[in-house]
């Protein structure tokens, strides 16, 4: 389907999503190898407060590593989801599994943020947003599961 006003088609939109996902993947790889630099920089500029005073740089490095791994898993599943959609396999059990994994990755990243908010309370905000997004993904997954069920019912109605 092509939008008459913008000339933007479904296929182009899908390609853009895939391009962005691949770009994000490379960004995450870069972050993985520069985690200590980012943490040091954060240590210099951060003026916030936390329950634990020492070892901020080490803690932030660890946090970046953990969250980065969750993010890579989530992005890999996003990529899988997009390739399935490109193959016209939308409402399948595999896709709902992908969404479930993505949602859990976000929730675990949120839990990681809560733990590391012991060093800096600001991470609580990140934790809140991660948990919220995780919940949204979860509801989306529930909707998807129902859609998979309805589709199989429809496919087997002769």
């Amino acid at each position: 389907m092509v939008n008459e006003l913008t000339g933007w088609s479904e296929m182009k939109s899908l390609k853009l999503s895939r391009f962005l996902v691949i770009g994000l993947f490379f960004l995450l790889i870069v972050i993985l190898f520069t985690a200590h630099i980012i943490a040091e920089w954060f240590g210099i500029i951060s003026v916030g407060k936390g329950l634990i005073r020492g070892g901020l740089v080490a803690a932030v490095t660890a946090m970046i590593y953990i969250c980065d791994i969750f993010a890579i898993i989530a992005v890999y599943h996003l990529h899988k989801l997009l390739s399935n959609i490109a193959k016209n396999e939308v409402f399948t059990a595999q896709n709902s599994r992908c969404l479930r994994i993505i949602s859990w990755c976000i929730v675990f990243a949120g839990i990681t943020f809560i733990i590391f908010s012991l060093w800096r309370f600001e991470f609580m905000f990140a934790a809140f947003f991660a948990m919220f997004l995780g919940l949204v993904m979860r509801v989306l997954k529930n909707v998807f599961e129902k859609a998979v069920e309805l589709k199989s019912e429809n496919d087997f109605t002769i």
Partner: protein, 66 residues
């Protein structure tokens, strides 16, 4: 589910092949196979109507409850 599709019995009586029946009803051979093997979850009244029309029988001749 306790509903059995006896389509093959009726087809044998009328001496009609699967492909021919599928063509006359207007469904694909794959879908007819789903119906015959009992994998179908539902049958549309329009499909049932055409099957009865082509095979000259009643719905009770094709579907059985056990």
């Amino acid at each position: 589910m306790a509903i059995i599709v006896n389509l093959d019995v009726m087809m044998a009586k009328r001496k009609i092949s699967s492909n021919e029946l599928a063509e006359k009803i207007g469904i694909t051979a794959a879908n007819l196979s789903i119906l015959k093997t009992g994998k179908a979850k539902a049958v549309r009244f329009s499909t049932l109507d055409k099957i009865c029309e082509v095979l000259e029988c009643q719905p009770g001749d094709i579907l059985e409850h056990v």
